[in-house]
Amino acid sequence: MQRQLPSSQVPRFNPHPPMEPPKEKKKTLEIEPISPIKRRMGKLKEPTADEQVEFTKHNIEDLLLGMGVEFRNPEKVAGGWLPLEAYDDKEFDTRLPSAWVNPNGSLLGGPREGVGAQGLWKDKDGLCYWRKLRIMKYLPKTDRYEGFWENTREKVRLARIFIHFEDEDPKIFSRRFAAAHQKRKHADALIKYNYYIDNMPKHQIPEVDTNQTNRVLQMTQNTKALRGKSSADTTTLLNEVNVDFAKTMNKIIFDKHCSDKGNNLITGKLDLPPPIEKKEVPYFGMIRIPPHDFPSSVTHFILHTLQRYTEVIKTQQEIRKECNDVASKDIYNPNITKTMKVDEFKQIQSSSTSQTGYYLKETWLNKLKDTTKQNFEKPGDQASLPGFNLNVGSKAEYDQSDLKRFLVQ
């Protein structure tokens, strides 16, 4: 694991000190009750003491090397020039990013001394080692963790893929790291593959023939928007079609050459991702759902929803729009652009407050009233919808009506 230094070099600080043996924890006689339903929803699954001891038994470097992941010299690995964090699969994570630093979700943040972890440290020669660090906080904007190396106290910001927390299962983390590595290799191979194809000569590839061109033009121009506009210039678009056609032909040639004669024309073997298996074409052009009682479901839905009338949906939309307009307003005036006297400030704020108050009590309320009346009343003060009678005569009748459900929802 340790790098061999030339004898001429002055021995320097060992960046990868041997791991300390795990401290034995005092065994307690507390017995945890077996209660699978006791755990509250959203509460983190803290690793048990046994699990934590198990975690410390594994060395992350050994695990990664055992999986064939070359993390020590990233520049020499295929795709090493690409940022590894871009290929990190966050589905492996068992906690939210901030929960690693603040496991209890306390408003005061996590522990003051930080959270123990191991991070991938890069030395001056570009070689990487896993070293201990303390993570202090999570920076959501940059999706990085901030902390410091334990031995040098040097400040550091790292992406999640380069941090293995002490409470984290090292096996899961190593699988995550290996998956990111593999994805990056595939990405690198795909970039090279497309680069080769893009740079293959196109002049010898025949263009799309006249019959094909006419067929394409006929099918694309016979749409509602383009019909009758025969003057539309299609030359540029046809050129693009020809370029795409040539690229596709080159791709077929390149694939055939690679399968027949290997990598004799390119710099090395391309580690391309496995081809995506084509899904079986369904026999029916619709989704099959299990048999069910459709009339009863529809009746149940109609009896319980208010949105069975167009007028109701329209009223709800208009009320929502008015409410959104109100929510975007401001009670105070926070746009202060100059220094002012206290009285002037008071006057500006008072004006803004009274304007908003007036808008709420008069304009907004009248708009909502008018919208509801327009949609629920026919000319001649008649109710347009059953159950939405605005001229209802008694409180008891109103309490039973859909109108009340609509107004108090």
């Binding site: 409410c323 105070y332 002012m340 704020q349 009233k369 107004l407």
Partner: protein, 208 residues
């Protein structure tokens, strides 16, 4: 509708508090009458911004001499704090008394002299009690956030306005000058029969 008012009040109050706090320095040290140092950004913030953004003061307060020949502010520091907190409360009061749509729409069912109003956020006068987690019948006060915003503003304003008194104290050394009566001195020095020569006057002016 009540949700809309809640959203409006939350956004407005947070924006108002943030706006006022953005004008308050982190620290202020009064060294001398002409030397007051305000710190608006931490070293980390300056590093993140690249360079500190220029700030302008929110209020202009004059210093004048009162009847006892002592300097005082045109607006008292306590009054500045009270004014801002009063604006905070007035904003919330503006949301009150919005009549229910039901009553407006169905006047025949509701008595016109008994207005029913929408529920709006109100500032608690004292810190709301945190409910006992063991007692599921207790619910947290929905207006706790207003109390916290108000307290945050109140505390920061009090902290920021305190150095104003320190600044006024730096002017004490000029108390003799404040008591000067320029008209009396002019009258004492003025001698109409023997006016001073222009050269003498010029010399006096240059000397002072």
């Amino acid at each position: 509708m009540e949700d809309t008012l809640l959203e409006l009040s939350q956004k407005s109050i947070h924006r108002f508090v943030d706006c006022i706090l953005s004008f308050l320095p982190i620290s202020c040290s009064v060294k001398d009458t002409c030397n007051v140092e305000n710190v608006y950004y931490t070293a980390e913030q300056i590093k993140a911004l690249g360079a500190p953004k220029p700030k302008f003061p929110l209020f202009q307060v004059d210093v004048h001499i009162n009847a006892n020949f002592e300097p005082e502010y045109s607006t008292n520091a306590k009054d500045v704090q009270t004014s801002i907190l009063k604006i905070f409360d007035e904003g919330l009061e503006a949301l009150q008394n919005v009549v229910l749509l039901e009553q407006k729409l169905l006047p025949q069912l509701f008595k016109s002299n008994q207005k029913l109003h929408l529920k709006v956020p109100v500032r608690p006068r004292e810190r709301p009690e945190v409910p006992d987690p063991a007692d599921k019948r207790q619910l947290p006060d929905p207006n706790t956030w207003i109390y916290e915003a108000y307290q945050k503003l109140n505390v920061r304003l009090a902290e920021t306005l305190a150095p104003l008194d320190d600044y006024l104290a730096t002017l004490k050394k000029y108390s003799a000058e404040f008591k000067l009566d320029p008209q009396a001195i002019i009258k004492q020095m003025d001698d109409e029969e023997n006016p001073p020569e222009a050269d003498v006057l010029k010399k006096d002016v240059l000397l002072h």
